[in-house]
Amino acid sequence: MEPRDGLPDETVVRSVLGGDAEAYGLLVERYRARLFGLAFHLCGDYDTAADLAQDTLVTAYECLDRIKDPRTFAGWVAAILRNKFRNLARANPAPTVSLDQMVAAGFDPPNPDTGPAVAEQELRQAVECVWSLPEIYREVLLLRYSEDLSYKQIAEFLGLPVTTVTMRLTYARRLVIKKAKESGLL
């Protein structure tokens, strides 16, 4: 794990385990976007995703002493998230998300200076494209852009080999292009 703030996960985890609760804030900041991205991919709703991410992080804190290897915090916390999602909503697959919903839930469209109508139209269609992707491809795409992660980080988070991640990203983009062509965006 490349440390952003200079401290590897392992150290931070140990600090937290040592009693330094504030240190946990570092981890939260590091992983919130990823967890959010993953949760969003899983449940398709900003609110639920936010709640999920929150709960995950809190549970992670509470169960931190049970972690087997402090270095695998990323994968560990992703597993917690998946478990939580599974427990939460087995029957609810990710609903199709529309831009309106996203905006309503707090999505921040880009600067209208770039051309609002075009931008919004485009965004709408982009949302549809992304959401119509098969799950595994959507997952990597969302993760990639939730926080501008590197391949390795995505791989670690998802527990996949790096080559798989690369391949899936490429394919996801190809699918996006294809759907964009179909929907007339391209």
């Binding site: 150290t11 140990r14 600090s15 937290v16 385990l17 040592g18 009693g19 330094d20 609760a21 946990y24 804030g25 939260v28 900041e29 919130r32 976007a33 967890l35 959010f36 991205g37 969003f40 900003y46 995703a49 936010a50 991410a53 929150q54 992080l57 809190v58 804190y61 509470e62 931190l64 002493d65 049970r66 831009l99 996203m102 707090g106 999505f107 921040d108 880009p110 931008a119 485009e122 965004l123 982009a126 949302v127 494209c129 992304v130 795409l141 969302l142 990639r144 852009y145 939730s146 590197s150 391949y151 990203l169 490429t170 983009r173 190809r174 996006v176 292009i177 964009a180 965006l185 391209l186």
Partner: protein
């Protein structure tokens, strides 16, 4: 024709993993190509919708930290690696784990293992003890102030057993499996060994050599009973050269001494000849005493023994002797194959072939033969013949490069004649048989008579008192003795000639080339044997 970059390249570009040169060329292309530019824009839009809004994330953070703050502080008891022996726990006064070094500086790392250096000192704060997590996750206990160096040493020692990848670990893990594997291998080896040792076919091979002895006969060893008689149905031939009896089977006898051909056989055990003239009507059975040397008997001078033992009949049919008044006998040999005389140019009379019936009288016959043979190589044939003479139990009387006169036991006479005939091309063959029974018996009689006279004279000698009578008697006795000696000598000679037949062979080299081979043109049953031969050798090259 413009080549648009593949989606893969676009993807890589968006992820920023292309090399600089490639990125530049890509961007150059983008500047020129609106289609690709559009693609990239679309993907960027897609990217945008994936980004979670910042406020949301902030909200998440805040909520989490709020709840974390409310949670109980984590217990540190479980954090130690339970594989390693936990020797102590760190307790700190303020609920925080610190390590103070010698300068009483607090370490930044909460876990001392990460930040401690050699030379640091640890001291329990507020009493209690200090636990250190070593490099391998082994905790060690410090109950009082201690140096880090010593702690680490202790930690290293404690951890040697189990941590990391070590052969001990592998062996332990592999333990059961390797035991299984090695035991399986051992079992296989044992099974193979058992098969090899106990396979009946294989063992048979080991014993085979003993079983297949083509040119030998079995020589079972026969232990002699102490009274020297042996029973069994045996057909024997008497061999006067060594006083032994031989037959279809060669028997060895052990009587405590070295094994030798036994002069003892009894065919019909219960017949005892006690009377001088008594002979079994149709068999002439003879029983010899243990270790009796018949030769000595034959050559025995005393008339008494001559009476007891009268040696007869070395006919081609086999040697038979009869011993009168003794308690051991030998049985008569069976008929051998009747001698087949090869067609010869000589007008010699064929030897008298004794009839097979055993009811005939025993006749004493002297057999002689003369051969002239053409052979391919005189030296080789001579060597051959000399070897064969030994085989026939004969001995050479005279020999030179081409001629040899030898004597064989009369029992073998016919066989020898046959074999000599096969030495080469017989140009001359003569066989004589001289019946000397009468002569022999005459001699015997005369000896007997002379002996009787001598006995009488000896008796008279006792009674005589006049000197001239004494002298006369003594003269007569001397004359008789001389006569007896002479007669016995003659008898012996005759007996000798009867017992041993004389054969003279004259070898001449064939003028022609080597003996023609008589190939049957046959083939062996075994394929590989058919590939053996000079022809195949030549064909190889």
């Amino acid at each position: 024709m413009i080549f648009h970059p593949s989606t893969k390249k676009v993807s890589r570009y968006l992820d920023g993993v292309l090399s600089e040169a490639t990125t530049r060329s890509f961007e150059a292309h983008l500047a020129k190509c609106p289609a690709c530019r559009r693609k990239v824009e679309v993907l960027r839009s897609a990217a945008r919708v994936c980004c979670p809004p910042k406020q949301r994330l902030e909200a998440v953070s805040q909520n989490v930290m709020a709840r974390v703050g409310q949670a109980d502080s984590l217990s540190y008891e479980k954090r130690w690696n339970t594989d390693a022996p936990i020797l102590a726990e760190i307790r700190s006064v303020e609920g925080t784990v610190f390590i103070r070094n010698a300068a009483n500086e607090k370490s930044i790392e909460a876990f001392p293992g990460c930040a401690l250096r050699q030379g640091d000192r640890l001291e329990p704060v507020g009493g209690g003890s200090v636990a250190v997590e070593g490099e391998n996750g082994v905790a060690c206990l410090v109950t009082e102030t201690a140096d880090v160096s010593s702690l680490y040493q202790g930690a290293a020692q404690a951890s040697r057993g189990g941590a990391g990848i070590s052969w001990a670990a592998i062996r332990k893990q592999l333990g059961a499996r390797s035991v299984l594997a090695s035991s399986a291998v051992a079992l296989t080896v044992v099974a193979v060994a058992v098969i090899v040792v106990f396979d009946p076919f294989i063992r048979e091979q080991w014993n085979y050599q003993a079983a297949y002895l083509p040119n030998q006969r079995h020589t079972p060893e026969m232990a002699l009973p102490s009274n020297g008689t042996v029973s069994g149905g045996l057909e024997m031939m008497y061999d006067p050269t060594n006083g032994t009896v031989s037959g279809g089977d060669i028997w060895r006898v052990k009587d405590g001494g070295a094994p030798r051909l036994a002069p003892i056989i009894s065919c019909i055990p219960d017949i005892i000849i006690s009377d001088a003239d008594q002979k079994s009507a149709d068999r002439n059975l003879f029983i010899f005493e243990n270790a009796l040397n018949l030769d000595e008997l034959v050559r025995d001078d005393t008339a008494a023994s001559l009476l007891k033992w009268s040696f007869v009949e070395p006919t081609p049919r086999g040697g038979v002797g009869w011993l009168l008044g003794s308690t051991v006998a030998v049985s008569e040999s069976t008929t051998k194959a009747s001698p087949s005389t090869a067609a010869s140019k000589s007008p010699a009379p064929t030897p008298k072939t004794a009839p097979s019936a055993s009811t005939t009288e025993k006749r004493l016959v002297i057999y002689t033969a003369q051969f002239s043979i053409l052979v391919g190589s005189v030296a080789d044939s001579m060597k051959d013949l000399l070897q064969k003479i030994e085989k026939w139990n004969g001995y050479v009387q005279t020999a030179d490069l081409q001629r040899v006169t030898f004597r064989v036991p009369a029992a073998n006479f016919n066989r020898v004649v046959e074999e000599v005939s096969q030495l080469g091309v017989v140009t001359n063959k003569q066989v004589q048989a001289q019946d000397v029974t009468r002569q022999y018996m005459d001699l015997q009689l005369r000896i007997e008579v002379a002996e009787t006279s001598r006995k009488r004279l000896l008796a008279l000698l006792e009674e005589a008192d006049k000197t001239e009578d004494l002298l006369k008697i003594e003269n007569e006795i001397r004359r008789l003795t001389e006569e007896i000696e002479r007669l016995k000598g003659e008898l012996r000679t005759v007996a000798d000639q009867v017992v041993y037949s004389t054969i003279a062979v004259d070898l001449t080299a064939k003028a022609a080339e080597a003996k023609p081979a008589r190939p049957r043109g046959g083939r062996s049953y075994f394929a590989w044997i058919n590939q053996i031969g000079a022809e195949h050798v030549i064909r190889t090259f």
